[in-house]
């Protein structure tokens, strides 16, 4: 009964979404000369960043990214706070089954490669598809792999939080340096170099690397917290 009602409701809702998005007029009247063209043009001419998406994420809409990093930071803190227990002891890991030797050996083998890949992805964020978030996530998967392969694998929470904090602080400080040098927050104050070089794009790669660190440590921290949670 309830399901039927819900299905009917959703059908109606879907109908309204459909007449909005599937209407041929939806494409016809679109303004195709919005900010997009400016972004594409300025990315090359002023920021010298090959990857426009990165330029947008880090520079044009860098403020969003700062907020986004804050959201991640908040999520990690919130996890700690929500799962916080009065008796402060490190819980037993929930996953108690030992991994098979194939997995553990493979993990050992793969771990450096994954880290390396992650680092590559966020260092080349301004040149190739990829960037801090993607790279950070990859690194976190490396740690996830280690955590599920080795029961005793542990990471110092302090180190994680120091890296995390430092990355965040530096992000804001770079933003503020732009503020001091150029007059606006997050404004580029470094030479932009030439397009398609590793050292190009001004502060973009630096920020993206910081984001990479932050995402990696935060995701690892998240995984670590949840893994050590006894349900």
């Amino acid at each position: 009964m309830k399901k039927t009602i819900v299905i009917l409701l959703l059908a109606a809702f879907g109908y309204f979404l459909a007449i909005t998005f599937l209407d041929p007029d939806f494409e016809k009247d679109r303004n195709r000369n919005g900010v997009k063209n400016v972004y594409l043009e300025k990315t090359v001419s002023e920021l010298k960043t090959a990857n426009t998406v990165t330029a947008i994420v880090v520079n044009f809409r860098g403020f969003d990214t700062l907020g986004e990093v804050t959201v991640l930071f908040l999520a990690a803190s919130a996890l700690g706070s929500i799962l916080f227990k009065k008796r402060h002891h490190v819980g037993e890991r929930s996953i108690t089954l030992p991994a098979s030797s194939i997995v553990s050996t493979g993990a050992k083998l793969l771990f450096p490669a994954i880290i390396l890949l992650g680092v590559y992805v966020f260092v080349h964020g301004h040149l190739t598809p990829g960037g801090g978030f993607q790279g950070g996530t990859i690194i976190a998967t490396g740690f996830l792999l280690m955590l599920i392969s080795y029961r005793n694998f542990s990471i110092s929470h302090n180190i994680l939080s120091v890296i995390e904090s430092l990355a965040g602080i530096l992000f804001v400080v770079i933003g503020l340096m732009g503020f001091i040098n150029g007059g606006t927050f997050l404004q580029n104050f470094m030479p932009t170099g030439t397009l398609n070089n590793l050292f190009s794009g001004g502060i973009i790669p630096i920020i993206y690397i910081l984001v990479g660190f932050k995402v990696a440590t935060e995701l690892t921290g998240l995984i670590y917290t949840i893994l050590h949670e006894k349900g």
């Binding site: 309830k2 399901k3 819900v6 299905i7 409701l9 959703l10 809702f13 879907g14 979404l17 459909a18 998005f21 599937l22 041929p24 494409e27 195709r32 919005g34 900010v35 997009k36 063209n37 972004y39 594409l40 043009e41 990315t43 090359v44 090959a50 990857n51 426009t52 998406v53 947008i56 994420v57 044009f60 809409r61 969003d64 990214t65 907020g67 986004e68 959201v71 991640l72 908040l74 999520a75 990690a76 919130a78 996890l79 929500i82 799962l83 040149l127 190739t128 598809p129 960037g131 978030f133 397009l195 398609n196 995402v215 998240l222 917290t225 949840i226 949670e229 349900g231």
Partner: protein, 124 residues
Amino acid sequence: MNIENIEIIRIGVYATSILLILIGLYAVLTKKSLIKIIIGLSIIDGGIHLLLIGIGYIKNGTAPIFSPGFENASAQMVDPVPQALVLTAIVIGFGVTAVALALIIRLYRHHNTLKIDEIKNLKW
């Protein structure tokens, strides 16, 4: 490819994302398990992210990355803005999901159940 095909691709993307949103909503509205509700929320997020990407699509578009020698290819590039937005939206969705899962752990600790209709100590 002719224009009709492109329309079909585009509409297909939109339709898929709408469908995803509806599926997610269905899970949120009918499933009793907290975990499934969160999965439903994630599916909604997925649908919306797809929709967001979909509006950046242009015919025969390429990725908005300038390779050496193609510095003036911007006319052919898809809209980069939705991609940047979706990156942010994904991360935010991820953060919310993480918090939600932590809350579920807490709820399970407290109520010893994952059924949403049994967790209503707070009402009226």
